[in-house]
């Protein structure tokens, strides 16, 4: 460095990697397309799963876009944005995570030739934004409301939305079964906003059909002390006492010390300690409760005490389970056993300990306030149940969303085709470059039906042409037509009950456009070397010894992309 004649202005730390300009933009787009390619095959009912195992040996088999993106451990800065939108779609609507990544990838892919031709990215961004707004307007216009229907009707409509989501998952074979289960669960918790009121418990063994919904709470038998088996295991209309205290013989204060000078007083402190715990237990019994649950330990002494008095108890109940029991039974969690009044006791119709697979479960069913539901999932392998849980989570979110927004759009690529057609039509009315951009946006939307066909092994061009023709009918009757996954042709998605809540689509298009615009607006990346020095070495050797030490320090045009 010192040998250089002209002193260089060093702005950044040595080894900092910066790259900028058009090439950077193209490179970012390429990275995003590569990521979108990974999840591409998981779309739709004929989508495949990915098996990902990390170096710790954890294995996940999944079809859920967000899960896959998360596990891929993407380090590319631009591509990371795609992970974020998948995540946001997951937390916002719960489903359509693959769709959103795919759309963003496709928007960028369409933008690439323009960028290469020298179009200013901001122009593209502006047009994309307009197109996005137009698309959302159109979805809102096309959406069909399910508001004002009777509960029964609503239920079956919601079940159809759930079934559409589930059809692409591993449990797709039993989608009706699970769809109705999900709908029941969501309706059971009503307008409660806390999603954790729906518990999902996983028990390996059995088959999917053995899964069941408990209109209340179920949890695995907790650790129990001797004497537990002597307690009764079934109650009708029991009173339930929920505690957050330890029922154990133990020192009351950590640091307290008793000094005795008279040995004959020894017995009195022993008795005093026992009296404390007996007093507590006695109060529990006096309250009339037949089931005692505590978040903290219930010791052997207490277990036996309760067993003697025909009371069921369970200690170390997981906090969320306890909260669910509280919500379901109408009880309140107590932190003291003093002044237990009837109002704080919960109740339910039936309490029972039951064998589920290899486990024993405590099941509270028929709860009065009924704001909770628990789904007990069964399946052949752990991986299987994990994936089933993720799928059900998606379905639950969808049903909740549909319940709140209560508008649906036809799925199977129908809505995407319709928006695409609409945008193309609209583009014709625009003078200037924007026309081209909106057209390419419209083309990008077609990726959804195209990918559906590809994944199912159909001729995408053929099906897409049929769809375009249908959607172009002037009467507008072709609008709900989408890909028919069973025959390889096209069908009316709406009458085949392939439905999605409109909010899924709106959010997906919004998020994908945002992400695409964000990536398009980036023209320089500055990478700090320190945080990734280990990586740099690996990449340097991969690049044939073009290490950073011998390069041009400080000069940003090195464009060493890693």
């Amino acid at each position: 460095m010192a040998s250089m004649l002209q002193p260089q202005i060093i702005l950044l730390k040595e080894g900092t990697d910066t790259s900028q300009g058009k090439a950077q933009l193209v490179s970012n787009i390429n990275a995003c397309t590569a990521v979108a390619d990974v999840v591409r095959t998981t779309l739709g009912p004929r989508g495949m799963d990915k098996l990902i195992h990390d170096d710790k040996g954890n294995v996940t088999i999944s079809n859920d876009g967000a899960t896959i993106m998360k596990l891929l451990d993407i380090v590319h800065p631009a591509a990371k944005i795609l992970v974020d939108i998948a995540k946001s779609q997951d937390s916002e609507v719960g489903d359509g995570t693959t769709t959103v990544v795919l759309l963003a990838g496709e928007f960028l892919k369409e933008a690439k030739p323009f960028v290469e031709d020298g179009v200013h990215p901001q122009n593209l961004i502006r047009s994309y934004r307009t197109a996005c707004n137009l698309a959302i307007e159109k979805i809102k216009e096309l959406a069909v409301s399910i508001e004002g229907k009777s509960l029964e009707e609503k239920k079956s409509l919601l079940a159809k939305c759930a079934a559409t989501t589930l059809s692409s998952k591993l449990i797709g074979g039993e989608k009706e079964f699970f769809a109705s289960m999900v709908v029941d669960a969501v309706i059971a918790i009503g307008n409660e906003d806390r999603l954790n009121m729906i518990g999902i418990k996983k028990v390996p063994g059995g088959n999917m059909r053995d899964s069941f919904l408990v209109n209340g709470v179920a949890f695995k038998k907790t650790f129990s002390y001797a004497g537990f088996e002597q307690q009764p295991k079934k109650f009708l209309n029991p009173k339930i006492l929920l505690l957050n205290i330890e029922l154990e013989l133990k020192s009351e204060k950590e640091n307290a010390e008793i000094r005795l000078s008279d040995p004959s007083q020894y017995q009195s402190i022993v008795d005093a300690e026992w009296n404390i715990i007996y007093d507590k237990l006695d109060k529990c019994v006096k309250s009339g409760a037949k089931v005692v649950l505590s978040r903290l330990a219930i010791g052997d002494l207490a277990t036996q005490y309760f067993a003697d008095r025909d009371i069921f108890c369970a200690g170390r109940v997981a906090e969320e389970d306890l909260h669910r029991v509280a919500a379901a039974s109408g009880g309140t969690i107590q932190t003291s056993v003093n002044n237990i009044i009837d109002e704080v006791l919960g109740t339910c119709e039936v309490f029972e300990e039951k064998q589920v697979g290899n486990e024993r479960f405590n099941i509270f069913s028929g709860c009065p306030s009924g704001r909770t539901a628990t789904i007990v999932l069964r399946g052949g392998a752990d991986q299987f149940i994990e994936e089933a849980e993720r799928s059900l989570h998606d379905a639950i979110m969808i049903v909740r969303r549909a319940l709140k927004n209560s508008t649906v759009v036809p799925g199977g690529g129908a809505i995407d085709m319709e928006i695409s057609r609409y945008l193309r039509q609209h583009a014709r009315t625009i003078a200037g470059k924007s026309q081209l951009f909106i057209n390419s946006y419209a083309k990008a939307l077609e990726v959804i039906p195209r990918q559906l066909c590809d994944n199912a092994g159909f001729d995408a061009t053929d099906v897409l042409n049929k769809l375009r023709q249908k959607h172009a009918l002037p009467s507008g009757e072709g609008a709900p037509y989408g890909v028919d996954i069973n025959t390889g042709g096209i069908a009316d998605s709406f009458s085949n009950f392939v439905w999605e809540p409109s909010v899924v689509k709106i959010n997906a298009i919004n998020a994908a456009t945002e992400a695409a615009c964000l990536i398009l607006s980036v023209d320089e990346t500055v990478k700090n070397p320190k945080s990734e020095s280990a990586q740099g070495e690996a990449a340097a050797s991969a690049m044939g010894g073009r290490g950073r030490g011998g390069g041009f320090p400080g000069r940003g045009r090195g464009m060493r992309r890693r």
């Binding site: 990974v38 993407i74 063994g205 002597q230 005093a272």
Partner: protein
């Protein structure tokens, strides 16, 4: 994973440590997965059926297991491949749910995968194969329901239960005295079963084993055995009509949990303390005596002083009995666990007809039998056998038999074994296939072929000509329209499983088919495997 290059020829890294990861996708991934699954199934194939062979498994620390229980073999094999792990879990979940048929389910899944491979080669979309399998499994399960028979049993008529348990045991090493073991299992299950709720808690059956003696000496004890002896060698070895005090407190002066300190500054004080301690012991023993206990079972120990005192007062005692055993004793004898001497009352004592200490052969091992308990809700199966491995295997076999008996209490439908149910399903699925239009039809036919592999393996393992035997039985089934014909593994001279009394539970069989289909679907659905390459 190979590096991606952009237009300018520069590599770009998308994933963390991308070049250290391997990625397998498309048809290659499916092929690799299928062959892993098949490999696992091949290992278990020879263990199927009454003439199946055993495997010897050595763990890293040198423990040897000999078994032919599918779940155990796979568990101990410690497989590394992810797909193979799925097969292990498959067998495990059959074990959890049904307890029996763990080998059959893996063989079935392996056969399904094998068929799927052929279909994949023809270019059929994997998901459509999976869907076809699912349809076929539905047909098969319905058909099983159709050919199943209900049979009645009661507490007095246990014969049908015994027969079914015998079928399970016949494939095990213990089949020499399967009748004996089957009866024990059934009686054990019935004595702890809650017939009204159709609930059986197998925790209430203690399976205990001791090396020595013959397998035939295995017995069912209406009570509990404890691997302990009396605390003092001079205590009586046999107590009739025992009244048992079950204690969770030690024979010691009570200790407060709070930190404490007794200041002793004079000799007098020390004397009082000493006297008091002695008084404690005295009181405790007296308390037990007062309520009429003739035996004390204690969760904790007691020191020699207490031991001597107990001996002196003629109160036999057992110390260091584990919590689980203590609980079982309490349940068996109808007693209550007492945490404190002050709480002892005559009602809380457990009662047993006979408590005796038994020593075995020439060894010094002693066990305590607490038996003849009135209305016992907890029982013990006490296994004897030539060596440790034999006992372990017997334990597993008995577990299977117990599970079968439990399943029958839950649902009393049975199907006939010996591969007859599979053959019958295969015929039904084959016939059903033609009703489905589309590619799935092929998959359904393949499913029917896969079903044949179970009787085929049975025949193979029994030293019969597999193809000949299978086709003969199949044609016999169709000709006489009787789903009871199976493979005559034991060379009993008849193919009719009804006459041979070979039964299996309906839910066990259904579960096998459903679980195998489920896992195969999962494997088929994977088209992309991303893993660190050093794996």
């Amino acid at each position: 994973m190979a590096l991606a290059f952009d237009e300018y020829g520069r590599p770009f890294i998308i994933l963390k440590e991308q070049d250290q990861k391997t990625r397998l996708r498309g048809i290659d991934a499916q092929k690799a997965n299928i062959s892993a699954g098949k490999a696992v199934a091949r290992i278990l194939r020879t263990s199927l059926g009454p003439k199946g062979m055993d495997k010897i498994l050595q763990s890293p620390d040198g423990d040897v297991t000999i078994t032919n229980d599918g779940a155990t073999i796979l568990e101990q094999m410690d497989v590394d491949n992810q797909i193979a792990k799925l097969m292990v879990e498959l067998s495990r979940s059959q074990d959890y749910e049904i307890g029996d048929g763990t080998t059959g389910v893996v063989v079935m899944a392996g056969a399904l995968l094998e068929q799927a491979e052929r279909l994949l080669e023809r270019g059929i979309h994997p998901i459509r194969i999976a869907e076809g399998y699912e349809m076929a499994s539905r047909i098969a399960v319905e058909h099983l329901e159709h050919i199943s028979q209900k049979f009645d049993f009661g507490t007095t008529n246990i014969e049908p239960l015994v027969q079914t348990c015998m079928t399970t045991l016949s494939s095990k090493i213990v089949n020499r005295c399967k009748r004996h073991l089957a009866e024990i299992s059934v009686k054990a299950v019935l004595s702890v079963a809650d017939l009204e709720r159709k609930d059986v808690n197998l925790d209430m059956i203690k399976v205990e084993g001791k090396v020595g003696g013959k397998l035939e000496d295995t017995e069912l004890i209406y009570g509990i055995t404890v691997d302990k002896d009396m605390s003092h060698p001079q205590m009586p070895k046999q107590i009739e009509d025992a009244k048992i005090a079950i204690l969770t407190c030690p024979f010691e002066p009570p200790k407060p949990k709070t930190k404490h300190k007794v200041d002793i500054d004079t000799v007098e004080k020390f004397q009082t303390l000493r006297l008091q301690e002695q008084k404690y012991f005295d009181d405790m023993v007296q308390k037990c005596k007062d309520v009429g206990a003739t035996l004390v079972i204690c969760q904790w120990g007691f020191d020699d002083e207490a031991n001597h005192l107990l001996m002196h007062r003629n109160l036999p005692a057992v110390r260091w009995v584990g919590g689980v055993e203590l609980e079982l004793i309490a349940i068996a004898t109808g007693g209550r666990i007492v945490p404190r001497f002050q709480e002892l009352t005559p009602e809380k004592l457990g009662r047993a007809g006979l408590v005796r200490e038994k020593s075995f052969g020439t060894t010094k091992d002693k066990m305590l039998y607490i038996e003849h308990c009135a209305n016992s809700r907890a029982v013990t199966i006490f296994i004897r056998g030539g060596n440790k491995m034999m006992i372990e295997e017997t334990k597993r076999s008995i577990h299977d038999a117990l599970c079968v008996a439990r399943n029958l209490i839950r649902n009393n439908s049975i199907v006939y074994g010996g591969g007859s149910a599979e053959i019958s399903c295969s015929i039904a699925v084959e016939a059903g296939a033609d009703k489905y239009p589309g590619v799935e039809q092929y998959a359904i036919r393949a499913f029917a072929d896969a079903l044949d592999s179970v009787p085929m393996a049975l025949a193979e393992n029994s030293g019969l000509q597999p193809i000949e035997t299978l086709s003969a039985v199949k044609s016999q089934q169709i000709k006489e329209n009787n789903p009871h014909y199976g493979i005559d593994c034991n060379d009993a001279g008849t193919n009719d499983m009804q006459q041979q009394d070979v039964f299996e539970t309906l839910i066990g069989k259904q579960q096998q088919i459903l679980l195998a289909t489920q896992v195969v679907k999962m494997i088929l659905k994977i088209d992309d495997v991303i893993s660190p390459s050093d794996y």
